[in-house]
Symmetry: C2
Subunit: 138 residues, 2 copies
């Protein structure tokens, strides 16, 4: 399951996507519409900004706004950013690889092999689906 952090990130991105032409949007506005703790959401939006998805403006009239096209934001990027690996095991993760402690020889591990296939199939979906798909469904 996704963490709340990631789920909230999707809600926020969706909201910003829907209101793309309204300029900067307040954290408060998003947090109220989606019943998300203001401060918690603050951290999330900041991460999304640092990762290059959002822009922001400080001071009165400030807020956040999308700086990428929704179709250029695949689910995989958001999930990786906030939740970490998409792979089911550390030993098959592309972005967060770590060997499994209990495994003496990864090369001979059948679980490893199968999980690579699962990862590849999962990635196909999560890289294909984008924020645009979420927006199209609202």
């Amino acid at each position: 399951m996704l963490s709340k952090k990631t789920k909230y990130a999707f809600h926020a991105l969706t909201y910003l996507g829907k209101n793309k032409d309204q300029g900067a949007i307040l954290i408060s506005e998003i947090s109220e519409k989606h019943n998300i703790s203001h401060k918690f959401l603050e951290n999330i939006l900041l991460e999304l900004k640092k990762a290059g998805f959002l822009g922001s403006k400080k001071g009165k009239g400030g807020g956040y706004y999308l700086i990428k096209e929704p179709r250029e934001i695949p689910l995989s990027r958001i999930i990786r950013l906030l939740d970490g690996p998409i792979a089911l095991l550390p030993c098959v993760s592309l972005n967060y690889y770590e060997p499994c402690e209990e495994c003496e020889n990864q090369e001979q591990c059948g679980l490893n092999k199968v999980m690579i296939e699962v990862r590849d199939e999962t990635l196909k979906i999560l890289e294909m689906k984008t924020l645009q798909d979420i927006l199209s469904n609202e």
Copy 2:
């Protein structure tokens, strides 16, 4: 990512699958081969037994053994048993459904719609791949 519990379960099932014709196998044997805490593994094997995947024999000469065909144990069943939902959101889980707290109207939620598609694609893989596939790769 899978929990260690689920990962260990797969290791244990694989070990039991490989040694299918050796009769009952000790928890200790599996825990030593895979560097898994004996007591922790005990709990896991018990769950697998209660769920109908394993049989056991108590007392001297006892141990655990597979009572299902490896090809009849899809990854999805083990993951669901030990880790819970496969879906990325509670509101799209088939076996552990819960509405999202922050969501006023699930019917109008684009994230919900997209995550249903992701779930269906993920399930395709996890229901197709079985313990047999792991065994074939060792």
